[in-house]
Every structure is written in structure tokens, then in C-alpha cells.
Amino acid sequence: MATIAKEHLTKEESLIEELGFDDHFHDHHHGDKYQSNFITTYIFSQDHKMIAKQFLITGMFWALIGASMSIIFRLQLGFPEESMAWLKPLLGKWITINEAGIGTLAPEFYYALVTMHGTIIVFFVLTAGLSGTFSNLLIPLQVGARDMASPMLNMFSYWFFFLAGLIMFFSLFLSTGPFSGGWTAYPPLSALPQASEGSGAGMTMWVISLVFFVVSVLLGGINYITTVLNLRTKGMNMWRLPLTIWAFFVTAILGLLSFPVLVSGLLLVMFDKGLGTSFFLSEIFIGGAPLDHVGGSPVLYQHLFWFLGHPEVYIIILPAMGLVSEVLSVHSRKPIFGYKAMVFSILAIGFLSFIVWAHHMFMSGVNPWISNFFVLFTLIIAVPSAVKVFNWITTLYGGNVRFTSACLFSIGFVSMFISGGLTGIFLGNSAIDIQMHDTYFVVAHFHIVMGIAAFFGMFAGIYHWFPKMYGRFMNETLGKMHFWGTMIGAYAIFWPMHYLGMAGVPRRYYLFSNFDTFSHFTEMNKFITVAAIIVFMFQILFVVNFFYSIFKGRKVTTKNPWGATTLEWTTPINAGHGNWPGKIPTVQRWAYDYGKDGREFISQVEPLAEGEEDGH
């Protein structure tokens, strides 16, 4: 393969020289502005590739914190009788030690951990870490642009994310603890400072952090949309875009339309919390005394929240879908099956994601008649989702599959997406939701379908594009260990939760020892906790592999190590600012010419032969 690739590369280079577009980019000598010193290269960088790495590494930092939190609350759930005194140095006053020396996790901090775990993983890791990383890295590279439409706004996008993270991080150390009312921040827990310890300063910092986070998402999204629509290279029409770009594009639109709605909701919550209004607070008694608030509607907040909240799950999963589509096609050496169907399903999912939000509220007092419509739309989402699943499987079918770590994680993604998607059909029914809501069945469903699956897509992307990011490969053996450990381990964690949920075990409980009904699940909870710890260890292995490979990994020797058709692999191994040293490549064909006319792959820069039809 190496020889084929090498022979091909020189051909690509000469094609770019011959057919490329000369934008006189390098005549201006302004490249130095971006990479003249340490600060402009590594810290306040305006280069999309560096910003991608910043998003990724910050995302990994948060992933470790979010996962560590889950380990602590899993220890509480799996081993509630065991002493947690050993965590005292880390958690301080949140561990109380009795005379016998037994340490107990403070219940309010358990809720803070669960809240922060959700917030961190959903927003900081799977939105910023996933979409931020790969949209930044791949959009300019794959559409053939020198950089984003506004590199400066792009830089701000990262630093607003950083600021959001910093504020959230500080909130962890408040004496009253971080916010603890659940990542959805439902009032009254979020709107009444006296509701819990974390509802005071912790909640205020949570809101400020999220507002900065939304600014980051919007600055990023504006850039992604503008770059895709305005800065595509010559010949790159929308039907020649790789599916990654389609996914990032629709994701950015979803973010742009849904995140502002969250800000509106949070604004009203803050009015209720600080200025005495009653948007979401109805008649509430605390300690026997009525509060001043009259006539508010907590369900109204839920509408505003889930109008973001539901598109948010697609903001998380669509980029993963895009990455997986690309990786599966490259590593099975076959064109993606049903390219147009894939694009239309992305669009359909994007559209439908806006009209299903109330399925999160079936049990919150929404009119059951209206619920019917939301059930219908929810179940319709299964159609484009299934189209995608069938197309991924069909892409693999009969392919010359290279089982690299990236490919394995993509296959793992498909497996997780099917498992988690099927339980979504249960939960999407308002009638079944009466039994299932707020149980571990829900926890199992969303962790598999948008947690683990999105992580798998992210891992696939990291293993696949690591050579583009750092000019080195990640270690494949460690990568495969990481895959199998995570794949088996993740099912070991979440599969049993379906049984817990069907038996009615409620989520968000600190302790089950007072419920005889659930006493026989003690061992199962232990098993889940042990599996979670093991999976966590495998993630440490990944992190070690990642950082080791940045410095010591096997070096990439050819521009196009995977033999892929897309434009990012026509850039130099360590591409500088502006991505291409000379002309910008022009695009001559679609992105998925694998195994065509007896050739292993044909780059997008190669003109169509006479009589040859373009793609699809």
C-alpha cells in the first residue's frame, strides 16, 4: 500500500500545481502574524488546527474530571457501606468521618457530583471537546480553505470556552459547593437560593459559566456555517462535501438556533433567583412559611430548556456520525453507501430534533393529547437514524476492512447507536414512559446512545486524524486494548442498568438501603461500579497513549497514510498556517472514490476521466 500511496502523492501534488487555484496567499507574508512566537503559536493562536488541539486537550481535561466524579458517585452507589475516608484529602468537608473512622459522602455533594458530571460531559466534553475539535480541524482542511472565515472569532470561541471552564472549575471549590440541582437546572431547585446549598453561589456561577459557553458555541458555529457556505474551494459543491462537513454544518445550525433559547430560559431563572420575579416559581412553602412567588410555571422552564436540550443531543451525536461515516468508508476501502441518503438523514434528524423536545416532559404535566404528537415525531426520528445505521453496515459489508483502532471505534459506535437507539423507541412512547421515566432505564438509554456512542465517534476521529494533528501515529496496540476494554466495559456498566430501570429503580437516589424492593440489586450495583472503574482505567491508558504519541509516536512518513481521498491529506504532514504551501487544490470529484476502476482510491483533486461519472 505504501508504494501505491507514494506514487499517488506526487501525482496529487502535481495536480494541485497544475489545477490548483492561486489565491496569492503566501505573497503577503502575513503568515508570521499567526505563528511568530510561542504565545501566538500555542496560546492565542488563530490557526484553526491549533485551536482544534486546544479544544481537544481541554475537552480531555474535563472528560477526566467528569469521569472521576462518576467514579466517586458510583462508589457511593455500589459500596454505600464502605468508608470513603480516603477521599477526605480530595473532597474535604464533603466527607464526614464518624467516631469509628468511617467516612461518608455528604448527600448534597453526591447531587453536586451528579449535576457536574452531566454538565461537564454534555457541554464541555461532548459539545466543545467533540464538535469544537473536529469542526475546527476538518472544516477548513476538507473544504479547501486557508482557515476559518474569521480566525479571530475562532480564537475567541476557544477562549470563551476556556473562561466558561475556569468559572465552572472555581465553582467546584465554593464552600457551599457547586450547583447541585441536576444538569437540567429545573426550577425551583435552580431558582431558589434556599433550595439547597449549591443553589446559591454555585448556581450563579453555573449560569455565568454556561452563558460564556454559549457565546463560545455561537462564535464557533457562526464561523463553521460561514466557512462551509462561503469558503469552499473551486469545484467543491455541496454534493462533493465529505459527510463530516455535512454533519458539522448541520450541528452548527442546530447550536445556533437552540442555544440562545437556553440563554433566554437562564435569564428568566436568574430574574426569579435574584430579582423576585415569578416566571417559574409557583406557590412554595419553605419551613411552613409561604414565599412571595405566585403563579409561576416550572413547566415553562422545561419547555425552554428542552427546546435546547433535545437538539443538544443531536449537536453531540451528529459530529460523531459524520466522523464515523468518513472513518468507516476510508478503512473499509469502499465508498460510503448511500451518500445522498446520508445527507438527507442528517438534515431530517436536524429538522426533527426541533419538534420532539416535549418527550422529555411526558411526566411533567404536559397535556397527554399533545404528547401524542411528540411521540409521533420522536418515533419518526428512528427512520433517518435507521437509514444511517443500515448505510454504515452496508458500507462495511464486503469491504476490505482494515481493523485499525479508528475503524474498531467506528464499528463500536454503530453497535452502541443501535443498542441505545432501540431503547429510545421504548422511551419515546408516552405510555411506556409512565413506567420507565426517571429510572435507570433512562440512564442506560442516554448514556449508551449519546454518551458512549459519541465518545466512540470522538475516539475514532482522534485515532484517525491524529497523524494530521501531530504528524505521528497513536500506538495501535494500546488503541486496540483501549477499544476492547471500553467496548466490553461500557456494555458491562450500562446493560444491567436496563434491568434496574425495568424493575423501577429510580435514578438520582443517593442510597437504596431503605428500600427492600431494591435490596437484591446490591450486587448488580457493585458489578456496575467495578466495571466503571475498569473502564476509567482504560481511558487513562488512552490519555497516556495520546500524550506519549504526541512526542514519541511512530512518525508519519507520507502525506496520506490512510490512503484517503479528502483534501486534508494533500496538505504537508505538518501543515503551517494557510494549510497548503502553494496553491489551494481544486476539487474534481466527490469524496468517496474508493475501489473505483481497479484503483484503491482516487483523490478529490484528480479530474474525472473522459466519460467517467462523478460519484454517488
Partner: protein, 195 residues
Amino acid sequence: MDIVAKENTFKRSKIHPKKFALGVACASIVMMFVALSSAYMVREAQGNWVEFAIPTKFFFSTAALLTSSLCLHFSYFFFKKEQTVLYRSLLTTAFFLGIAFVAFQYQGWNQIMLEAGLPLGANPSADFVYAITFLHAAHVLGGLIVLIMAMIHAFYLKHRVTERRKLRFEMTILYWHFVDFLWLYLLLFLIFHKM
């Protein structure tokens, strides 16, 4: 930075990428107000909703903002005609009318508080108006900062009509018209809902 955006395009569309980006940002801001107005309607339907007349000061503010937009538009016209005095004076007028808008809004809030007797927290009907107009005023303040930038350019730079300055001016106008139309929408929404 500009070079990336300017020279990497192939006249794919007539609109400059940065102007397009600003349009996208405006769409996003619209969503925030759509959310608030739909929350308004949902809450209104649930009762316990004290009706009150729209403060008359809101109509003064509307006039100020519309005139401001008009002034900015003509300022740009005279900028292109290289008539420096008119360009600068209309720009400054637009800015001060923008400040007048915020001041009138403030007086409008006082009217709701004192004349309608609905201070913040008294009833959601007024609270929504406070929240929505506050958020809108915040966006106008953002626009005023942009106008200050435009004035700094107008008064400290030599008057030269370059593509770069035209683009900057057009983007300023786009945003200022946007907050203008947004306010018209909000005002009509409130009028419609109080009829």
C-alpha cells in the same frame, strides 16, 4: 485575518463572508427573542396576568431608534459621496439617538413601575416586558459600542472610501438596522397581545 476571508473566495456569493457571518449571528439572536415571546404567550394563557397599557415612552424610543437608523443610513450615503461633514454629523446623531432610545426605555420601565403600579416581581405580565426589553436594550448597548468604534474611525481617520471601510460600515448598519427591526417586532408583539 481579512486576507483569509477575502481572497479565498471565488465570488461564490455576492455577500462578503463576514457580513454573512453577522447575518447568521443575528438569526441566532432572533431565536432568543422568539423563545421569550413564546414563553410570554404560554404564560399569558395560564392566567393571573395583569393587563396594563404599553408605556407611551416606548413610542418615543421607537421614534428615536428609527430616526437613528435612518441617520446611519444617510451617514453611509455621504461617506460614499465623500462629504465628510454630513457623514460625521449624521453618524454622531445616530449615536446620540441610540442613547436616547435606551434612556426612553428606562423611562418606559419607570412608567410601568409607577403609573401601572407594577414593579419588578409584581406580575409576570410586566416582568416579561422588563426581561424582554432589558435583553433588547443590552443588544442596543452592544450596537452603541460599535457606533463608538465607527465614530472613532470617522473622526480620527482620513476620509477615504476603501472596500475595507465600506464593509465595516455596512456591517455596522446591518447590526443597527437589526436591533431596530427587532425592537419593532417586539413592540408590535406587545401591542398585538394587549389588544
